[in-house]
Each structure stands twice: as structure tokens, then as C-alpha cells.
């Protein structure tokens, strides 16, 4: 029963906070695992951007997937976001943040692409529009 905590966990908080001994080793293991995973993902990203082995049009999508995976690694291993019930508030806030981020980015790109498509301008005029 001692594992049930009376309150939520603060974001960034790992295990039982401010307790000497015991948890230190596993906490070090968590940070180190995250660090190694992040290095591996970063290295794959740099490799994928430079290699000629991969199908070129697919590389940007692959880079995006690698970046999202690495952001997940940072959230889990460095900021200690978990699926535990004491983390529900943190996860809900994060989910709302991600929703807004997706709306802003996808919405902006969608609208601006549509604007470009609807211009129907000659290519020179189009270039002027894009450049100035």
C-alpha cells in the first residue's frame, strides 16, 4: 500500500522526491537510458539526412518520425512523464498542448498551400509573390 501516493506527481519528478539513497541508482539508469536513446536517434537522423541509400522523397518524413520519437524519449526519460494515475494531469496538459501545436502548424501550412494554389498566377508573378 505504500506505493499509493496521496497526491499527483509534479512534472519532472522521478520516483519518490528528495529521498536519500535507494532510488539514486535507478534514477541514474533512467537518465542514462534516455541519453543513449537520444544519441542513437540523433545519429540516425544525421545519417538519414546524408545517405544516398534511402529513397530521397521519403527522407523528410523519416526525419520527422525520428524527431517525434526523440521528443518522446526526452519527455519520458528526462521529464518523467508516465502513464501512471498520479501523472494524469501532466499528460492531459501535454495532450492539450500537442493539440494546439498540431492545429497551428497543420492549419498554417494547409491555408498557405491553398492560398498559393488559388493564386493561379503566372510563374513569374508567383515568384514575386513568394519572394517579397
Amino acid at each position: 500500500m505504500s506505493s499509493i501516493r496521496p497526491h499527483d506527481r509534479a512534472p519532472g519528478e522521478d520516483m519518490v522526491p528528495f529521498q536519500t539513497g535507494g532510488e539514486t541508482l535507478s534514477e541514474l539508469l533512467v537518465y542514462t537510458t534516455g541519453f543513449v536513446l537520444a544519441i542513437v536517434l540523433t545519429a540516425i537522423s544525421f545519417w538519414a539526412a546524408n545517405t544516398s541509400l534511402l529513397w530521397p522523397p521519403g527522407v523528410p518524413l523519416g526525419l520527422a518520425v525520428l524527431a517525434i520519437a526523440q521528443m518522446g524519449v526526452h519527455l519520458v526519460f528526462f521529464i518523467h512523464i508516465t502513464t501512471g494515475s498520479d501523472n494524469t494531469n501532466n499528460v492531459l496538459a501535454l495532450a492539450f498542448g500537442i493539440l494546439i501545436v498540431l492545429l497551428v502548424m497543420a492549419g498554417s501550412l494547409w491555408i498557405m498551400t491553398n492560398l498559393d494554389a488559388n493564386m493561379m498566377a503566372p510563374s513569374e508573378l508567383m515568384n514575386l509573390h513568394m519572394q517579397h
Binding site: 539514486t24 526526452h74 498554417s108
Partner: protein
């Protein structure tokens, strides 16, 4: 009713009973700061969207392929990632109430962050010297705004870290100081998350087109 009273007997009462009352200040403060960080990330998403819309609007000026140095970006990425890791180690030292390890972690974090910033400033200076200023094209305006905002955050983080170490030195690990250190630690990790987006979208995708 104390926690012992609830869990002392065999049959545990509903879990709701122990969730009553306000959360400790440590949790409220960190949660509030978490909300701020998410709003900061929303701000960056607007800058990312702006950059993505304007990335090809070079107005006949230089584009990413001509401007970006992959080696420098790899070193910058390594510095910031390692500083995020040492920030985690510093947070462990704070949890163990170990001043010497805290100062060491903070010093390494600061040096790595400062190295990142120095490389970024050199990159900006080199670009501006070569005529690739923010005024040159919409692409460069968006580039300097996005990457520069992140650099400004890193600068603020370095100042914050220095102030926090002064507070640890003068006040020790009192509750108020550890709360601020928790917020700093979250801030520093969040900056690295944003940098992952920048090195992918701006630099790695930028050198390919």
C-alpha cells in the same frame, strides 16, 4: 484521517478519500510551470509554421544548402543534449541534498550550454558578415526569428542557472530554492525538445533541398 488510519486495516477505503485537500506547493508550482512551458512550445509552433511557409522564399538570396554547416550543428546538438543529461544528474544531486555534486552538475550544464550558444552566435555572425542578414529574404527573417528565439531562451536559462547556484550557496536547499530548481530543470529539458525540432526541420531538412 491519517494515511495510516486508511490503510492500517485490511480493507482499504476508496482511493478518493486520500486525494482530498490541496496538493503540496511543490506540485502546484511545477504543474503551473509545466503549463507555461507548454504555452512556450505553442509559441514555438507558430514560429515553426512561419518558417515552413517561408522556407523557399529566398528572394534570390542564399538558401539553407549554402548557409548551414552540418558539422557545427552536430556539435551544437551534442552540447545541448549532453547538458540536458547533466541537468538531470544535477537534479539527482539536488534530490540527494549534495551541494558539491549539484555545483559540479550545474557547472558542466552551464559550460555545455554556453558552448552551444557560442557556436550559434558564431554561425549568426558568419551569416550576417556574408550578407545573409534577416533583412535579406523572408526565409532568413523566419530563420533568425525561430533559431534566435531558441537562442534567447538558452541565454535566459544560463542566467537563471547562475542565479539558482547563488541561491543554493546562500540559502541552501530550502523548499523555495528546490522548487525553483525543479522549474529550471523542466525549462532546460524543454529547450532541448525544441532544439530537436529545430535541427530536424531547419538544418537536416534544409541541407537536402
Amino acid at each position: 484521517m491519517s494515511t495510516e488510519a486508511i490503510f492500517g486495516a485490511e480493507g482499504a477505503i476508496t482511493v478518493d478519500a486520500i486525494y482530498e485537500g490541496p496538493a503540496p506547493k511543490r506540485i502546484v508550482v511545477a504543474y503551473g510551470f509545466w503549463i507555461f512551458l507548454l504555452s512556450d512550445i505553442v509559441l514555438f509552433s507558430a514560429l515553426f509554421a512561419t518558417y515552413a511557409v517561408l522556407v523557399h522564399a529566398t528572394a534570390g538570396g542564399p538558401d539553407g544548402v549554402q548557409l548551414f554547416s552540418q558539422t557545427r550543428i552536430a556539435i551544437e546538438t551534442g552540447c545541448l543534449l549532453a547538458s540536458s543529461y547533466t541537468c538531470g544528474l544535477m537534479w539527482m544531486a539536488i534530490g540527494a541534498r549534495n551541494p558539491a555534486a549539484t555545483y559540479l552538475g550545474a557547472a558542466v550544464t552551464f559550460v555545455l550550454g554556453a558552448a552551444f550558444l557560442a557556436l550559434e552566435i558564431r554561425e549568426f555572425a558568419g551569416m550576417i558578415a556574408a550578407g545573409a542578414t534577416p533583412q535579406r529574404s523572408a526565409f532568413l527573417s523566419a530563420f533568425f526569428t525561430l533559431v534566435g528565439s531558441h537562442g534567447a531562451h538558452v541565454t535566459l536559462g544560463l542566467i537563471w542557472l547562475t542565479v539558482m547556484m547563488a541561491q543554493v550557496a546562500t540559502k541552501g536547499f530550502v523548499a523555495a530554492v528546490t522548487r525553483r530548481l525543479a522549474c529550471f530543470s523542466l525549462f532546460w529539458h524543454a529547450l532541448d525538445i525544441i532544439w530537436v525540432g529545430i535541427f530536424t526541420v531547419v538544418y537536416l531538412m534544409g541541407i537536402r533541398t
